[in-house]
Structures are given as C-alpha cells and as structure tokens.
C-alpha cells in the first residue's frame, strides 16, 4: 500500500463520510420504526443498512488502496461497544424491551461482529488479524526501557 497524497486522503475521507451518511439515515429510520410498530424484520433491516455502509467503506478502501485508519477503527469499536452496552443495560432494565427486541438485536450484533471478523480474516489472514488485537504480545515485545 502506498501512502495517499494530501488531496487523495481528503477525497477518501469525504467519500467515507458520504457513504456513512447515506447508510446511517435509512438505518436510523429502520431502527426507530423497528423498535416501534415494525418489529423484528425492520430491526434486522437496520443492521443490514449498517452492514451496507461497512461494505461501502471496504469498497472505498479497495479503490484507494488503503485499510481502515486507526481513528476509524477506534470510532467503530467505540460505537459498537457503546451500542452493545446500551443493549445489555436496556435488556436488564426493561423487560418489555427485552421481550420485543432481544432476539433481533442479538442476531444483529452477532452478525455485525461476524462480518467484521470475516473481513479481517479475508483481508489479513487469521494469524495477522489476531495479531492486530494481541495486546499482551505487543506489550511483551517492548523492551523494559521503552516508554509508552
């Protein structure tokens, strides 16, 4: 991968934002309607819209010959983690929420995670994909004198 020039990096970033805007709006409508009158199919469709955004992001990466930037990875993980925590808390607090939405949300979160893992494995191979998250090994590989 060759590093992108200043303008190219900007173009890629703007395109990524545009893709996520186009995916997020239908996803928001589907989730909102799914939590209300729509039910399971619409919640799953909302996750499908998010996955469409992810696929669009991957296509952009391929077109520009790049991978996810650390900021994008961080943001993605934070949003995924927060949504997961929110889901667990709401399921524990509200029985009716859990009764109506536990199954579709669980399927959605698991599928989203599985798609990301699938992408990582196909892109980097199983070993490299695991190494990217292997903090312990990364920590051990530092020499005692290294500063963080």
């Amino acid at each position: 991968m060759t590093p992108l020039g200043k303008n190219e990096a900007l173009d890629r970033h703007a395109l990524v934002m545009a893709c996520w805007l186009a995916a997020a709006m239908p996803a928001a409508i589907l989730f909102e309607y799914g939590f209300g009158r729509g039910g399971t199919p619409y919640i799953l469709a909302g996750f499908a819209a998010i996955l469409a955004g992810f696929v669009a992001h991957v296509i952009v990466n391929v077109v520009y010959g790049t991978g996810f930037s650390p900021r994008e990875l961080g943001l993605g993980l934070v949003i995924y983690g927060l949504a997961l925590v929110l889901f667990v808390v709401l399921s524990l607090v509200s029985a009716s929420f859990a009764a109506h939405n536990f199954l579709p949300l669980s399927i959605g979160f698991i599928t989203t995670g599985a798609v990301v893992v699938f992408y990582l494995i196909t892109r980097y191979g199983a070993r490299q994909a695991f190494a990217a998250f292997d903090v312990i090994r990364d920590f051990r590989s530092r020499s005692p004198g290294d500063h963080i």
Binding site: C19, L21, A22, M25, Y33
Partner: protein, 625 residues
C-alpha cells in the same frame, strides 16, 4: 416532529460544515478556492452528476406532477437518459478543450473558440438564471417543505434564510471543493433515500395505491396513457390539451430541455474541474441513465400514487408520521436535500464561474490568487443574499424566470456541438441560431407571454403551443438558422482557430468510431430509441403490452402497459449510453493531452483594439455625448 426534523437537518448541516472545513484547511493554493485545483476526485463527478440531475427536475415538483398527470408524465423520467446522452456527447470534449487551452469555463472556451463576446454574455445570462432564479425557486420549495412538515413551527422565511446561511457558510469556508463534496454527499443521500422509500412504502403501507387503483389523477386526465402524439391546442393559458398535457411531443421536447443541464455552465464547470479517467463514463451510464432515471421511473409512480391518494404532499407526510415521526422526517429530508443540492451547486458554481469569467477578466483583471479568493467569497455572499431574498419575497418571479433556464441553456447546443465535434459551425451561424432560438423560447414561455400581453396585445398562442415545450420550438428554429448560416459562412476568417482546436482533438484523443457499419448502427439505434422511447413511437406503449396487436385479446398484466414500455426503453437507453460512452470512447479519457494550444493570441494594444468593437462603439456613443 419539529425537534426531530430540526435535529436531523442540523446533523446534515454539521456534516456539510465539517466537509467544508477539512477541504478549506487542505487547500494548497488560495487560487484553488475557485476551481479546486482542477482536481476534483471522480466520485464527486459520479455522485454529484446524478444528484444534480434529480435536483434540477425538482423532486417535489416531479412527484406532484406525476400525481397530477399519472404515467404520461413518467416519460420525463425516461428523458433523464437524454441528459446522459448529451453529457456523453459533450463532456469529455469540453474537458479536453479546457486542458488543451488552459481555460477553465465553458464561457471562456466558447468565447475564445468562436471569438465572440456576445456568446460570453449569453453564457453569463444563462449562468445568472441558474444561480439566482432557479436556485431561489428550489430554496423557496425547501422552505415551504420544512414549514409544512413542522406545521409552521418553523416558518418558511426562517427555514429559507437558515438553509441559505448554512450553505453559504459551507461554500465560503470550503470553496469549490467543499461545495462539490457537500453536493456529492447529499446526492448519495438522496439516491439512497429514494431507493429506501420505494421499498419501505411497499412493505409498510397496507395496500399500495398504485397496485390497487393506479395513480388517481384529476378527471379528464388519462392516468396511464399518453394523450396522443401531438395535440393542436393553443397552449397552456389559452387551451388545455384533452386527456392531459404530456403528449409524446411534449415528453420529447421536455426531455430535450433536460439536456440543457448537461451543457449548463455549472455542470460543465464540474466536469472541467474534475480529474477523471473513467469517472465521466461511470457517472453518465450507471448513475444518471441507470440509477437516477431508474429510481424515478420505478419508484416515482409508487410515491406519486400515494400522494394522489392522500390529497397532497403534506397530507402524505402526515400519513407517514402516523407510522413513525422518523419516517416522515426521512421523507422530508429526501425532498429538502434534493433542493439543497440545487441551491448549493448552482449558487456555488455560479459564484466561481462569475469570478473567473466576469470579475477577474473584466472588472479587476490581473488579480493575484488571494484577491481572486476574496472576490469569489464576495460573489458567494452576493449570490446567496440574492437567492435568499428572491426565495423569501418573490418566489413567483423566481418560478417564472426559472422556467426559461433549461430551455435557454439548451439553445447552446449548436455552439457546444461546434466546439466539440463540428468544425464548420461558424460564429455567425451560432449567433443567428441563438437569437432566433432564444426568441422562440421566450415567446413560448410564461415570461415572454405575460410581458408581451401586458405591454402590447394578446397573442393567439399560450405556453407550449401544440403541446411542444419551449425548448423544442427554440431548438428547431435555432438549428435551422445555425445550419443555414453556417453553410454560407463555414470558411470565414475565424476558421483557422476552430481547426486548430479540432486538429488538437484528433492528435490527443481521436474519436474511435470503429467500422462505418458500427458507427451507423450506433447512431441509428440512438435515433430509433429516441423515436420509440420519447418520440411519436411512444404512443404504442399505451396498449402494446395490454392489448397486443396480433393477439386480439386483452392481457391483464397487472401493471399498466405504458409503465412496462417505459421500463423496457429505460434498459435499452442505459445500453445505448453504455455503448456510446464506453465502447465508443465518447466519455473515457485515455490520457491527458501533452501539449497546449493558444486559441486567441495575446492582443497587442498598440495595434489592435482591446475591447470588442461593438462594445467599444456602444461606449463611445454613451461617453461621447
């Protein structure tokens, strides 16, 4: 719903400001503010092209007209393929001409190529019509939509000024690159929401009105048939055609007027300032002819039938709000975003082109890059101020003036064809055609009719007489005059200059026509397609699939025959545009031109007059008194 709608519009605005800020920060030269360093990425051209096409049709208007006239108006959606065809024929050559001559706007190119200041002024007039009345009409629509969706919690005036201020901020911070990013991002959003609402209404509404009753048009209007090839009516305002306005000639000539988008100064500027290789072809084939036309042809009737069943656009939005407020907000966002695209693009491109063609050429020649950027910012402020003022206080005037815009822009077709392909089209021919064509346009549109009838006497015809759109009247007379005059003046003094550019075209990117048979097949197929898809042959679509000619029976296909006909010719149209753009290499740029040519040698003020003779004579007449 008001807080939710305002929040969603706010999020979109923040995203626009963010895109503008990052592009403003990364600008390398102050001069790039005006033209993005002629290096817009291909994806911007790809998405923005489709979005601008939809926005120029005015999506809310399109849906309402579809609800009023039924499938006969859906011919206009098929006409979007004309935009793609027009872009395929001209866009690459305009891009090449700009790179060969180091000029940046269509006005400069045509002005230098034909050696005519009159053409420059005409282009500035068309630019003005796009930048102010047309943009104001779209802004006024956006304001009305927000006001209706919030039950006047947000008044129309407040919405208009807020949207104008946010778009102005985005433009003034990000420059042309920021505007292009914003337009492209919103175009992608509009396309995604259009596809989304097509599916969503199908799944959520109990019974689709389109499937049950079709489009419920007013009495006397044929909902699923074209009302004839042509009707000998005096025109709108005098006599309405029976069965609806959209005869095949009305559809064909309206589709021709849509071609005016592709050769408008703003759209050309978008193409010239981009750095595409296959981006132009992809945008024309798959986005404009494919996605934009396809969504309108297939999803437009479904939404229009619901709007007709609900009674109005506002009633339909309220019905969506009963499902969930977020659904109604999404639909309003779809319509408002399409209007925003038109406002941001036409106001932004207008300011940039005006800075290049008018300010830095005539008003303050020789400006440095910083001054150019400042001038562009001042122009942006003036344009947005004018657009918001007209949208707030004179929306009717904006509508009347904007009705001229596409038709007058289309009158540039002979000039652009001359620049791109036909070297024997002369300046005299182009000017004669423009004068005759523009007069025909003005006197078959409400602007000219109202003006003339108020000042003088009643005319025997109304708007679009014989159900032929003003662009059709203009183009017919324009081409006749242009060709006749060009026949006698084709070898005039400026022929050398025209030859120089066309020789450079042949050297750098020769047209790849293939064999004679392939060329004949390509253009014959295109004409056949135009005849059957939009022209008189489209009348066959009324009953072709429901009452097949040789079967002698009625077939219940469940879908109106005309819609099947339109979908069929949409597929064929996409294939033709693909063939021309990719296989014919009309829109694929193989390599950048390696040399530069000078169309107009530098004028030596000691020996030659600096200003154009007729302008000099006019000035003399005024100042000599």
């Amino acid at each position: 719903m008001t807080p939710l709608l305002v929040s969603v519009l706010g999020i979109v605005a923040v995203l626009g400001l963010y895109l503008a800020t990052i592009s403003g920060r990364h600008t390398q030269q102050p001069g790039d503010f005006v033209d993005a360093g002629l290096a817009l990425p291909p994806w911007v051209t790809i998405f923005a092209g489709a979005g601008i096409t939809l926005a120029s049709l005015s999506l809310p208007d399109h849906l309402l007209l579809l609800a009023t006239f039924g499938l006969q108006y859906n011919q206009v959606a098929v006409g979007l393929i004309c935009i793609a065809l027009c872009a395929a024929i001209t866009q690459k050559r305009v891009w090449l001409a700009a790179r060969l001559t180091s000029l940046r706007t269509l006005g400069d190119l045509l002005g230098d190529y034909f050696g005519s200041t009159t053409l420059r002024i005409y282009l500035l007039l068309v630019l003005f019509l796009f930048s102010i009345p047309f943009a104001a009409m779209c802004l006024s629509q956006a304001g009305a939509l927000v006001s209706a969706a919030t039950a006047n919690d947000v008044p129309s005036g407040l919405a208009i000024w807020s949207i104008a201020f946010v778009l102005f901020l985005c433009s003034v911070i990000g420059g042309w690159r920021g505007i292009a990013y914003l337009v492209a991002a919103q175009s992608l959003l509009v396309l995604a929401l259009m596809v989304f609402f097509g599916g969503f209404t199908g799944f959520t509404l109990d019974k689709l009105a389109f499937a049950v009753n079709g489009i419920g048009t007013a009495s006397g209007v044929l909902p699923d048939k074209i009302p004839g090839v042509i009707q000998f009516s005096a025109g709108i305002g005098k006599e309405l055609p029976a069965g609806g306005l959209w005869t095949t000639f009305a559809g064909l000539t309206f589709a021709l007027s849509l071609g005016g988008i592709a050769i408008s100064p703003g759209f050309s500027f978008l193409g010239v300032t981009s750095a595409p290789r296959r981006g132009l072809a992809f945008g024309q084939v798959w986005m404009i002819a494919g996605l934009a036309a396809g969504t309108l042809i297939l999803i437009g009737p479904v939404l229009a039938a619901e709007i007709a069943a609900s009674g109005s656009l506002t009633a339909f939005t309220t019905r969506l709000a009963t499902l969930d407020p977020m659904v109604a907000v999404g639909f309003t966002l779809l319509l408002v975003a399409s209007s925003q695209i038109a406002v941001a693009f036409f106001a932004g491109s207008g300011a940039s082109v005006c800075t290049i063609e008018l300010t830095s050429r005539y008003i303050i020649p020789g400006m440095d890059q910083r001054s150019t950027r400042f001038a562009a910012r001042v122009t942006l402020a003036l344009v947005y101020g004018a657009v918001a003022a007209v949208a707030s206080f004179a929306p009717l005037s904006a509508t009347i003036f904007s009705s001229l815009t596409l038709s007058l822009s289309m009158q540039l077709l002979p000039a652009v064809l001359g620049l791109c392909w036909v070297r024997w089209i002369s300046r005299s021919g182009v000017l004669a055609g423009l004068i005759v064509g523009s007069l025909c346009v003005v006197f078959t549109e409400s602007f000219g009719l109202v003006l003339f009838e108020r000042l003088f006497v009643d005319l025997p015809w109304g708007r679009w007489p014989l159900s032929v759109h003003s662009a059709g009247w203009g183009l017919a007379t324009n081409f006749t005059a242009c060709l006749l005059v060009s026949l006698f003046t084709r070898s005039s003094a400026e022929r050398d200059r025209r030859d120089r550019l066309h020789d450079a075209f042949e050297e750098s990117q020769p047209a790849r026509n293939g064999s004679q048979a392939a060329t004949t097949a390509k253009w014959a197929l295109t004409l056949l397609w135009a005849f059957f898809a939009l022209g008189p042959g489209a009348i066959l679509g009324n009953t072709f699939f429901s009452e097949p000619i040789f079967a002698g029976t009625v077939v219940a296909s469940g879908v109106p025959s005309l819609l099947i006909w339109q979908v069929l010719f949409w597929f064929v149209g996409v294939f033709i545009v693909w063939w021309l753009a990719y296989q014919g290499r009309l829109s694929v740029i193989d390599e950048r031109p390696r040399h530069r040519i000078v169309l107009v040698p530098e004028v030596n003020p000691l020996f030659e007059p600096v200003s154009t003779p007729w302008i000099a004579r006019l000035l003399d007449r005024v100042t000599g008194r």
